[in-house]
């Protein structure tokens, strides 16, 4: 499943690798991509092993607020 999060908090591109790493280390996440310019976070994951709420929580733990977006 592919989920899209949007964050308005990204202020320096250095956070990109940090968020991507944190997400990719989760079980059930196959791919995570953070787009600094637009604040989009694209995640490919298995919704059973890594539910959407868990993704939001993980991003939050790295220090950034994000919310699920339809498109």
């Amino acid at each position: 499943m592919k989920t899209l999060l949007r964050s308005q908090d990204l202020s320096c591109p250095s956070c990109v690798a940090k968020i991507e790493n944190a997400l990719q280390k989760l079980d059930g996440v196959t791919n995570a991509k953070v787009h600094f310019n637009t604040g989009r976070i694209e995640i490919e994951h298995d919704p059973d092993a890594a539910p959407t709420a868990k993704l939001v929580q993980t991003v939050r733990e790295t220090g950034y607020e994000a919310a699920v977006a339809a498109f």
Binding site: Q8, D9, E61
Partner: protein, 646 residues
């Protein structure tokens, strides 16, 4: 308490709270020192401020470290701890506070550039009323099924892409086209999701739904464009990748060589290439976002940079410079007796013209030929066109019909010869005159007599001369017209538009060769076309611009720049916006590089210390962001042409 807990759990709000407390503590410390002469409070309060703000920075540094990532936060944390150890409480407090406060301001302002798209997202409709089993049912827009009838009430958003089947209204399409004047919608016209129905009730047949709407495609396209890295950005990022490790090494060297801890810590503080890494993205996001709002879709940063460098422009004729549909431009009356009940003056002239068109239209009404449609459309404004009793087409020559015992012929001289009708020399002269003007001319005969000549031509878009004026005012020297049409027609259109460089009678590969030749002459070439038959030339040009892209997915997906409307004036606007963005990027890169150089020099010479270094660093980031945001300012009130150098 619960309120406080939720606050604490949201990283954003927690950071705001910590920044505020830290700032307050610093303020108290300063008041204590300078107004109340309580210097002993001062250090304690400053240390508390540093710990308050520093706690969040340290936490994030720790998270990064766990991901094996040396972050800027780690450098700042080390610097702060170091400053506290050597007793520089004020420096520690200032550095941590400025770091948090700067990040807050930056995220806030950057959010504004990002939000220009948010505006588009908010346009996405939230509900739809569909007719199911004869009843009105409210559903989510993405739950509408293809082919279903959707009711759109006045003042609400159209929830799907589709076709009007009933009703009449004006629709505000500015979201899609950037055009502020509402578009007239009647049965048969296309409507787009996200546009606003202003006047009447519309019944729309759903065609595109949810992610398959023009609006969704635009948003997707624009975001992909903003995320794509421009060449400048790639260059800067290569530079930035080496910058931080270099500064860390320099800091280490400073301790070993000079034993100057203050210098080493200050170097750590300025170790973030903030303004540099943000310089290009902020301009690109702002430039592309602003363009999208004006109905100009730019494929990405690279294209924006290229478009800013365009030195030659090639324009396709049919459908680009012209409307793409033939229309009757001239009606010549040869037999003044055709009008019954003539009463003198110019009235007679008008009546006669209407009569010529009327008879021609009766004969042409049954024909599918584009020229026939032009004639019928021209006659439409007069009386309703009756249906001919008999009708026959002569391929390549014209048509012959009978109506109420009258014989009508519309076509070439060959047709008249076949029908046994003599063509008078005056008619011949008019025919030739029309042809030299690049028009298609046909003879109209009634009951064996040639009564008139019709001139039919594709119409130049009325904004074409103004577009040329603005392009030339913008300093674009080389503007050429490319067309597969014959030289005479091409020249007529070019003259009317004010284009001097005309290439006519071209095959698609000829167009491509002309583009190549321009490139060989050293030009950066843009090509404007309709996206399908100009495909090879569009692909070869440095920038391919497609017009009237709303509703045509191919154009949105493939063109480097897609103009949502047929408005030619969007071409100079796109050009100008690209240049403005390119300039903005250059300014930002210069600001960032100069700041880094000055900061580094200042620190190494011992003129700049921790707090000052952080302040200059954060200020430069803000300047870069604010400079980028200038691109968002609407300049609609100013004529785009007037701000150009003459």
């Amino acid at each position: 308490m619960k309120q406080l807990q939720t606050w604490w759990q949201s990283p954003k709000q927690r950071r705001q709270l910590l920044t505020a407390i830290s700032g307050l503590l610093i303020l108290l410390a300063l008041v204590g020192k300078y107004l109340l002469n309580q210097t002993n409070w001062h250090n304690g309060l400053m240390a508390a401020a540093a710990l308050t703000a520093g706690s969040d920075i340290a936490l994030r540094a720790w998270h990064s470290l766990r991901q094996r990532h040396i972050s800027i936060e780690l450098l700042v944390t080390i610097a702060t701890v170091g400053a506290l150890v050597i007793g520089e409480y004020w420096e520690a407090a200032a550095v941590t506070f400025l770091f948090l406060f700067g990040a807050y301001l930056e995220a806030r302002t950057l959010g504004q550039t990002r939000r220009i798209l948010q505006g588009l997202l908010e346009l996405a409709p939230t509900t739809a009323i569909v007719l199911r089993d004869g009843r009105q049912t409210e559903v989510m827009p993405h739950e509408v099924l293809p082919g279903e009838m959707v009711l759109v009430k006045p003042g609400t958003k159209i929830p799907v892409d589709g076709e009007v089947v009933d009703g009449r209204s004006a629709v505000d399409e500015s979201a899609i086209t950037g055009e502020s004047i509402p578009a007239e919608k009647v049965s048969g016209t296309a409507v787009y999701a996200g546009t606003v129905n202003q006047a009447g009730l519309l019944k729309v047949k759903a065609i595109g739904i949810g992610a398959d709407t023009t609006l969704a495609r635009i948003i997707r396209r624009v975001e992909e464009a903003q995320e794509e890295k421009a060449p400048t950005q790639r260059f800067i990022e290569r530079f930035a990748r080496w910058y931080t490790p270099f500064i860390i090494l320099l800091s280490g060297a400073a301790i070993l060589v000079t034993r100057d801890l203050d210098l080493a810590l200050t170097l750590l503080v300025i170790g973030c290439p903030g303004a540099l890494v943000i310089s290009t993205p902020v301009s690109i996001v702002a430039g592309i976002g602003r363009a999208a709002k004006r109905g100009i879709l730019i494929k990405g940063g690279e294209y924006l940079e290229n478009a800013g460098k365009i030195s030659a422009l090639a324009l396709d004729k049919t459908g680009t410079l012209t409307v793409g549909q033939p229309a009757v431009t001239d009606v010549v009356v040869l037999q003044t007796a055709v009008a019954a009940g003539a009463n003198g003056g110019t009235d007679v002239m008008e009546r006669d013209k209407e009569q010529v068109l009327y008879w021609a239209a009766i004969a042409e009404a049954g024909s599918e030929h584009p020229l026939a449609q032009a004639i019928v459309a021209a006659a439409d404004s007069a009386d309703p066109i009756p249906v001919a009793d008999e009708f026959e087409t002569f391929t390549g020559q014209g048509v012959h019909a009978t109506y109420l015992g009258h014989e009508i012929g519309v076509g070439t001289t060959d047709l008249m010869a076949d029908l046994g009708i003599a063509v008078p020399t005056t008619a011949q002269r008019h025919l030739e005159k029309q042809q030299t003007e690049g028009k298609t001319a046909v003879l109209v005969a009634l009951d064996g007599l040639v009564i008139g000549v019709l001139g039919i031509a594709d119409q130049l878009r009325p904004t074409a001369p103004e577009m040329m004026r603005r392009l030339q005012a913008a300093g674009l020297k080389k503007i050429v017209m490319l067309t597969g049409d014959n030289a005479r027609t091409a020249q007529a259109i070019a003259d009317a538009a004010g284009i001097h460089d005309v290439h006519a009678g071209l095959l698609p590969e000829d167009k491509l060769n002309i583009i190549r030749q321009l490139q060989a002459e050293g030009h950066v070439v843009a090509m404007v076309g309709d996206g399908i038959n100009d495909a090879p030339a569009l692909a070869t040009a440095d920038i391919g611009i497609a017009m009237g892209a709303a509703g045509t997915d191919v154009a949105i997906e493939t063109a480097d720049i897609a103009l949502m409307t047929d408005d030619l004036l969007k071409i100079p606007e796109a050009l100008q916006l690209s240049r403005a963005t390119l300039n903005n990027i250059r300014q930002n890169v210069v600001i960032a590089l100069v700041t880094v150089a000055l900061l580094l020099t200042g620190v190494l010479l011992g003129k700049v210390h921790m707090a000052g270094g952080m302040l200059i660093h954060e200020a430069s980031v803000m300047i870069v962001i604010l400079n980028g945001m200038r691109l968002l300012r609407t300049r609609e009130e100013i004529e785009p042409g007037s701000s150009l150098p003459r």
